[in-house]
Structures are given as C-alpha cells and as structure tokens.
Amino acid sequence: MSLLTMIVKMSEGLGKTCAIFFLTLLFSLPLGMIVALLRMSKNKLVSAVTRFIITVLRGTPLMLQLLAVTYGPYYLFGANVARNKLIPVVIAFSINYAAYFAEIYRGGIESIPVGQYEAAEVLGYSRLQTFTRIILPQVIKRIMPSVTNEVVTLVKDTSMAFTVSYQEMFTIGKQIANSQTSFMPFIVAGVFYYVFNFIVDRIMGRIEKRLDYYK
C-alpha cells in the first residue's frame, strides 16, 4: 500500500476524530461547570458525592471508562451494544473531561477575591448576575491556559477510541499497520495530531489574547 493510499484511508477517519473532539467539548465544557457548582455546594452530601465521582473519573483510565460505557450495558442488562459507537464514545469522553474541567473551573472560581462578590452584593447585583457578569468572565480568563492544556490532550486522547473499534483516524491507521506490517501509519497519525494541535494552539492563543485587555 502506497503512502498516499494510507493517508487517504486514514483521512476518511478524520471526520470521526473531529466528531469525538468537538462533541466532547460541546458537552463537557458546560457539564464541567455543573459538576464544579455541585462540588462547591454548601450541602455536604452533594459536595462529597460529587467529589467522589470526580476522583473515580480522574483516578481510573479513560480507556476503562470507554469500555465500561460501550460494553457495560451489554454485560449488566444484556442490552445490545450501540450500533453507532460514537454515542458511547462521546458519553465516556464527555463525562471524563467534565471531571477535569470541573476541577479547573473550581480552581478558577475560588481564585476570585471575595471583594468582587461583596462589591456586587452592595451594588445590588443578584446572585445570578454576580456569577454571570462579574465572576464567570474573570474565571474564563484565568483558566484559559489550563483549558488549552486539556483541549490539546483531548485531541490526542481521541485515539483511545480504538479500544472500542470506533473507526476514527487512529483506529484505521492501526488496522492498516497490522495488515501491512508497517510502522508508517503511526507516523502519519503523529503528523495528523501534530497539525490538529497546531491549529488548536493557534485558536486558543487568539482567544487568550482577546482576553488580554485587562489584568
């Protein structure tokens, strides 16, 4: 198989790689905020349970979580394994990344000085207005570097979908590597990820710069 054929075949999986990437961000970024707020809840039970869930999600391999979400329903209830593996893959990724984002959000929220809340309170901002107008924008600026880190990691983590044989770029590459006994597909995959992350880095850098107008 020529190098060009490999590249073309693997490119066909890029759409699915992108699907995992974008759908995971779409769900995990807001879900992470909900988890962060639950984690900071004044209700001790809510906060303790959330904390436990976060430690499980961060403390066990994403690969295991992928297997659990994809095949768990079959072993537990004898349910059919989803025909479209994108669904369990995105669920597993979103939950896993939400746990990481939650901790980033929490760190950001807790780093905002209490004086910001007090000023808003005295000026008559409601709690929701204080959060959405005063706190959140400052949190976003502060956490951008950490979020960029996670997003870059996510690009590479999409390759983990091969464990459930979801036909994204890396899974196809691995199949080609096996059938052709060639290392070339892995090099192609490496280049793909690098270029993908190069673009991600540029975009995130631009967002960070846009938030640079204040300290």
Binding site: Q116, A119, V122, G124, I134
Partner: protein, 258 residues
C-alpha cells in the same frame, strides 16, 4: 447605652444602630454598639486594628450578619432584635447606602464607564440619565477622559475615585467608607481625601472608618473612637481630638502623633 444624636437634628436619622452585637466564634467583635447618623453629617470612626470598626460598617451594609440589636434606615427596621427583614426588603435597604472598600474592588474586566453604569442600568434606571450622571461624576472625581480605561490602567487613587463614583451612581442616601486610603501611598491618599472632603461640602451623609486623624478631625462633624468592640469615646471632633476624656483615647491619639 444611649443613642447618639448628632447636632440634635430633628428629622429621622438616615442610619440608626442600636445595641449591635457581633461575634466571630468566641471573639466578641462588637459589644452593644449604638449610633445614629443624621442627614448631611459625616461620622468618622477611629480606633486601633481589631477594634471592630470595619465589622460595624460591614454589619450596617449587610456584608456581615450581626447577632443582635437593631439596624434602621430612615426609621425602618432592616434588623429588629437580631432578626433581619426579608431578602426582598434588604434589597430595598441596599439601595439606600453605598460602600467604598479598602481594596476598591472594581470589576477589572469592565471599563471605568461600565463599572459605574452597570448597576444602575440593572436596576432599570434610564439609560440616558445613567450615562449623563456617570459623566458628571467622573468630572467631579477628576477623572475626565478615563471612561474607556480599565482599572489596571489607573493608579490606586484613580481606582478608588472610580469606586466612589460607582457607589454614587446609585444615588445612595448614605455612603460608607471602609478605610478608603489604607491601600494607598500618602500622595494618592491626598487626592482621595480631597474628593471625600468635597462630598462633605456637598452635604453627602457619610460614615468613614479611617486612620487619617487630621482628615477625621477636619472633615467630620462627629467622631467615634472604638476599642475592643465598644465605643470608648465620641463627640465633636475638637472634643475627641483636642480634649479626650478617656485614658484609652489619649493613649491611642498619642501613638498617632508620634
């Protein structure tokens, strides 16, 4: 402890506090504090660190929950016998006072203009009027041309003046200052005190917690000296500063003159 009536004014005091109690754990920060502030008066609260003066202001502005006593604005109870009015009512009381913090607490991601105008706009005040008022406040604070600046581009003194403008934008009946110049160097302190003095000349009702003794003496018409959660001495600034009767007051003021 009896209530204080400043200059024997006949109208209801803007702020009246009776027998206020507040402790943090076993630490009694405020023990039975009473005071009242008549319209147009400037009350300075002085005293050593940890005497409870900031806590007193923070209780008056509901940032701290007092344990007992009464807080009244214009004769209406915000807290009665340690029981607060409803959340909605407290919201109403909040529109009557403004607060200026030691650390300014400006919103760093907002321009000067937005810092000043957002709260009144959220309260549904007329857009045009809010804008015009903000502009005239900026002129008054000596901050012409700074409306599009961000707090990080301003000096501490300028930031504090923006914070004063922000508080005034809501047309409070009384303005609280919690050590407004403690985070500033002497030069910048002067420009902030000048602005507060101007407000006093305009008969703005104010309560100022401060360590600036000459300022307290010159600008306020009533001085309260606090120590260890009680009011040790109070009265006309010339009396408290010129002829203090309590040993603790004398000792405190002596330390300041050094």
């Amino acid at each position: 402890m009896s209530d204080i009536t400043v200059n024997g004014a006949s109208s209801a005091p803007i702020l009246e506090i009776r027998n206020l109690q507040k402790s943090f754990g076993s630490n009694n920060v405020l023990k039975d504090i009473s005071l009242s502030v008549e319209p147009g008066n400037v009350v300075s609260i002085i005293g050593p660190s940890g005497s409870g003066k900031s806590t007193l202001l923070r209780c008056a502005s509901f940032l701290e929950t007092a344990d007992g006593g009464d807080i009244l604005y214009n004769g209406q109870y915000a807290m009665h016998g340690g029981v607060y009015a409803s959340k909605a009512e407290l919201g109403g009381f909040r529109t009557r006072f403004g607060m200026v913090f030691q650390n300014f607490n400006l919103f760093p991601h907002y321009s000067v203009m937005k810092n000043i105008t957002e709260a009144p706009l959220l309260h549904g005040h007329d857009k045009q009027e809010v804008r015009e008022r903000a502009e005239s406040l900026l002129v008054k604070m000596g901050l012409e041309g700074k409306e599009d600046s961000y707090p990080c581009q301003l000096s501490g003194g300028q930031q504090q003046r923006v914070a004063i403008a922000r508080a005034l934008a809501l047309k409070p009946e009384i303005l609280f200052f919690d050590e407004p110049t403690s985070a500033l160097d002497p030069e910048l302190t002067g420009e902030v005190l000048k602005v507060i003095r101007q407000l006093a000349d305009d008969h703005m009702t104010m309560v100022v917690v401060t360590h600036e003794m000459p300022f307290a003496r010159a600008v306020s018409n009533y001085v309260i000296f606090m120590d260890k959660g009680v009011i040790v001495e109070q009265g006309d600034p010339e009396e408290v500063f010129g002829a203090p009767t309590q040993e603790r007051t004398k000792q405190f003021l002596r330390n300041y003159q050094k």
